[in-house]
Symmetry: C2
Subunit: 289 residues, 2 copies
């Protein structure tokens, strides 16, 4: 059926938002709405403008026969700052303090809206890297991993502490926990990860980095590569960090269990967040090569 522009704009917006990082051909939209490609092009210009103006992301257009349009989710640095500062405030509440200097984050990680926004923040810094799959370890990191994966349009793989009958055959490794120095086990279903995959590791909390190091070790068993490491909260006062390159949203600078005080700061996220224009230029260069 024939669509008017206004109806097309609503449906195209929904379609693009539901298919981040997909390359959608203009013909697809032209057929979907029984409209001329020139009209579709004009629609896309309007959507692109609104997306950029409102901090939703941008549209990249790829010319040529195999071309089309791709929605790149992206958050502006101002909006990211407001969001992370707000999160810092919530996390610094002393009632979050648990024995051992851990933090109660269950309520934050249980809020789909916050989790989605964190996913979008990570997708904004990892969107221009080649990533085949997002990996996390059960249980707390799972919602974050799905939120990121959704914006990056890739699947999720979950490492477990124990093997389950519903996973089929598995690969397991032992690793040393960074803070407790105890030997622990990690298990990943054989079928769940392809050899040579480029993997983005996501987790909720990093102390010394033992758990993330464990995930890196299990990736080696699959000849897979680390494409990036993102953590929601990093704890600063650790003797030695086992992981070098990672991106954190929040840094725990001081935890005083006795005095029930928590001090937090912005993580290193903003060193990595690019301007939307930079991303566009970079993609243009890649296309020209």
């Amino acid at each position: 059926m024939k669509f008017r522009r206004s109806g097309r704009l609503v449906d195209m917006t929904n379609y693009l938002l539901e298919h981040p990082q997909h390359l959608v051909s203009l013909s697809y939209f032209a057929d979907r709405y029984d409209s001329a490609k020139s009209s579709i092009s004009e629609d896309l210009t309007i959507i692109k403008q609104a997306f950029e103006q409102q901090g939703i992301g941008t549209l990249l257009t790829v010319a040529g026969a195999a071309g089309g349009v791709r929605y790149i989710p992206h958050i502006g640095s101002q909006e990211a700052k407001v969001f992370i500062e707000n999160l810092c405030e919530q996390i610094a509440k002393p009632e979050r303090l648990l024995p051992g200097g851990y933090l109660y984050l269950t309520d934050i990680l249980g809020n789909p809206k916050l989790v989605n926004q964190i996913g979008k923040l990570y997708a904004s810094v990892y969107g221009d890297r080649e990533i085949d799959v997002v990996m996390t370890v059960a249980t707390k990191g799972i919602p974050l991993a799905y939120a990121v994966a959704n914006y990056l349009n890739v699947p999720v793989v979950i490492v477990r502490r124990d093997s389950k009958v519903t996973e089929g055959s598995t690969v397991s490794i032992n690793y040393v926990s960074g803070s407790t120095k105890r030997i622990q086990t990690m298990v990943l279903a054989k079928r769940s990860l392809q050899e040579g995959s480029k993997v983005l590791i996501i987790d909720d909390f990093m102390k010394a980095g033992g758990t993330i190091n464990g995930m890196i070790s299990i990736l080696e068993e699959f000849n897979a590569k680390v494409a990036g490491i993102g953590v929601l909260v990093e704890s600063e006062n650790t003797e030695e960090r086992l992981v070098d390159e990672y991106i954190s949203l929040i840094k725990l600078t001081c935890v005083d269990v006795k005095e029930k005080q928590i001090q937090v700061d912005l993580g290193n996220y903003f060193h990595f967040l690019k301007d939307i224009k930079e991303i566009k230029n970079q993609v243009d260069e890649e296309l020209e090569e």
Copy 2:
């Protein structure tokens, strides 16, 4: 800044999609776009039409001073049927069969797009019930629970098999597994669920229903109520089902481990999926009362 209609339509569509089940006042949009309420009303009519026509959902308008507009995600029965039948086909592949008659579902549950769509299917049947929180048990049900919760605009609570230091104090119960008859434990952080909550239980797989029964028992400890039970796959050939009312997308009718054969059928989902018009009438009646 002032927006033209086309830009408003794009941004409002994004805003509504990001805030399902929220009541958004017309003044909010009027301020956001520095536009007259009459223009906003016209925009909403266009969006509503496109949402209904394209099977995205609908907009409910609530009149009066405390009024506004609410986006109700909803899937049409035809689209739901195509999706579930496609899922059935994928699930019936013999290579999914694992020892004990279990099914390998990790790839399906690892696909954020499929998981979101399953979430929307459940939101379409549970959207008109009073639900405060979605509950699941670690690990497999977690992505499904978040997808549903996201569309219902409520938080997620995760029951575990073991207590963790990062959860604070917990309530634990013992229950009997339906199929193996073994005694197992379930644990829920005290802080994570409020007394008297109305809870939608979501899980990926139900055999005899022991796990779900365990979740119901733990809800009793919190004086919480079951508002609904949704499972992705139910297994039919169980001696006695421990759970009465539930909604399943897919029913496993026959599993022959020896011959490596799986037979699946549509679950009871379609007995519960209402037409979007029914939902609108129901809401109208509730508003009139």
